[in-house]
Amino acid sequence: MIKFLLRGILRDKNRSLLPIIIITMGVTLTILLSGFIRGVMGDIIDQNARFDTGHVKVMSRAYAEDKEQLPNDLALLGVDELLDTLRTDFPDVHWVKRIRFGGLLDVPDSTGETRGQGPASGMAIEIFNKSSGEIERLNIESSLKRGRVPQKTGEALIGNDFADKLNLGVGDKVTYVGATMNGSMTFMTFTISGMVKFGSSFMDKGAIIIDLSDAQTMLDMPDGAGELTGFFDEGVYLDEKAHQISQAFNERYAPTTDEFAPVMLPLRDQNNLAGYLDYVDSFSALFVIIFVFAMSLVLWNTGLLGGLRRYQEYGIRLALGESKGHIYRSMVLEAVLIGIIGSVIGTAIGLAITYYMQVHGIDIGDKMTDTSMMMPTIMRARVTPGLFYVGFIPGLFAMVLGNMLSGIGIYKRETATLFKELEV
């Protein structure tokens, strides 16, 4: 039966060409848009995780409430002891200490007077502790445009665009002006060891990266850190695992009312990322639904036209004694075969374009000159295992639905009038 139908599809181009083209286009678009949205959202989440939220993050309750303001006066103290507990309790999470701080970077002239300055967004990470994995996690080596990673105290990396704005070169000195965790004014002069470009406008235009030990000295927070950031050994964010770990940790501190008690937040509860994660899950489904609906309407119409064209064929088959149900089922089976052919071609084309967009992407750097959002400047699609089958849902479903609707006409034919209709 399938062989018979396949022959019919291949030999009668009028029967199959238009539906296959429509399905191919629909499936291609479904895959491309799903891959693109998954890629862009995935990059945003991944970049947020690496640079800011981690997969889970521990802060003091008071700090977590106002964390956008980088309130280091509310930071965690006694973090080494807390880290030991976290490493024991959650051994499959890699924990690192981080301090984020804001302030002003001032560039001196030859007499020590201000030559230029700009607001800085500071990040202190465990650069000198090689086992922290921070240099690899933040892709610092590959993001270096000039110079090298800091190797000793008093050295700093700054954003490449920030360096250009302040006319700084490797080896130049800058003075950080800010506030300690106690609110005192603090000054510290750093030597620029290198310039980094992360592809995030926010970082490239205002970041200074220093070692955690320098920040602890500068901000008067020995054994203190704003954030303890955790990364799963799996390397990707796992929402359920993050939720379980956070719940287990937070339950331990639930009885205390201390505003400086630690609290753990999973990635999805930070930086409004819950919405993004939900988008990633629901957008592909939304595209599939839209394309199933739109393509079903088109294929219904195509099926009706085909039904009219094959009016005589169905009449003769009925006159020869073939049951209406059998004709209807063979039509649906034919639709399944056309749907599969269209979906295979559409999936192949869609994956090819998605892969091209994954490699090359769309550069939106020019449109993001003033954004403070942590997102990549090149929007890339991502080929995921799901894309290999997601196109078959609209491809098959729309074709079958369209044909089932148009095929209902078969049941309206009356056998008694067939010969009159066929004029035989």
């Binding site: 509310l74 002003l104 001032d106 007077e113 201000t114 002006v177 004014m185 000054f187």
Partner: protein, 245 residues
């Protein structure tokens, strides 16, 4: 003006208490108390944080409203830090880095040492009559003292606060309370002034509590421990060279 408006205007004139001076005259007397040709002061700034309370002492010199110099005396972390303000520019000297850093523009609105005072608040010594239009909005008694409530609206573009509401002691002509507003009308700070003392023929508040309404906590106390009005201040004090001395 129609008849109804005219009647309302005449009634409102009679409604004001007899003997009330006009708002500008009140403000002029306040300026006479609060501003001076020069001022040398020693002060303590008590900053109430969520974890701890810090006290910072400083010695300040001011000449008119355009020049001021502050040297921090304690605690150790702040000791030796100096600030010089000339017109709208501010230089900060950090002894730990031996750097002089210039601040200007919006940076002057940042908090000083984590307190509820901005650099502009700290170095304010302007005559109110030169910056604000005043009108009397009512009367109120604060801690047993009769006050006029003045509403001040900036008449210059570069005023730190676009609007102020200030409660002026009717006998001593010093403010006892102030509310400071942004151009949008948002209340930015509340200032409570107390410890009014007489210095020669002027009255001056020696204790001020600044409360930044955009921050949590109970604000910052600014306590003046020593005051010297119209003393001679050597000109070199207001030069950048004095920062490194």
């Amino acid at each position: 003006m129609n008849t109804l408006s005219l009647i309302t205007f005449i009634i409102s004139l009679f409604a004001l208490p007899q003997g009330t001076p006009d708002a500008d005259a009140i403000l002029k007397k306040v300026d006479a108390n609060m501003t001076s040709k020069t001022l040398i002061s020693t002060s303590e700034m008590v900053i109430y944080g969520r974890r701890s309370t810090r006290t910072i002492t400083a010695k300040g010199y001011a000449e008119g409203h355009e020049k001021s110099f502050t040297e921090y005396l304690s605690p150790e972390r702040e000791k030796g830090t100096k600030m010089l303000k000339i017109k709208d520019r501010l230089w900060i000297y950090s002894p730990s880095t031996d750097r002089t850093i210039q601040l200007s523009g919006h940076m002057l609105r940042q908090s000083v040492m984590g307190s509820d005072l901005s650099y502009e608040d700290m170095m304010e010594n302007c005559k109110m009559t030169e910056i604000y239009h005043a009108k009397i909005a009512g009367e109120e008694t604060i801690d047993g003292r009769e006050t006029w409530i003045l509403e001040l609206t900036a008449k210059v573009d570069n005023a730190t606060y676009e609007k102020r509401k200030t409660w002026i002691d009717q006998k001593r002509y010093v403010p006892l309370k102030e509310e400071l507003f942004a151009k949008s009308g948002q209340l930015l700070k509340k200032v409570t002034l107390s410890g009014i003392k007489q210095y020669g023929n002027r009255w001056y508040p020696t204790r001020m509590n600044y409360k930044d309404m955009l921050k949590e906590g109970k604000g910052t106390d600014f306590v003046v421990t020593e005051l010297e009005f119209d003393a001679d201040i050597p000109e070199y004090i207001f030069t950048k060279a004095s920062l490194k001395k």
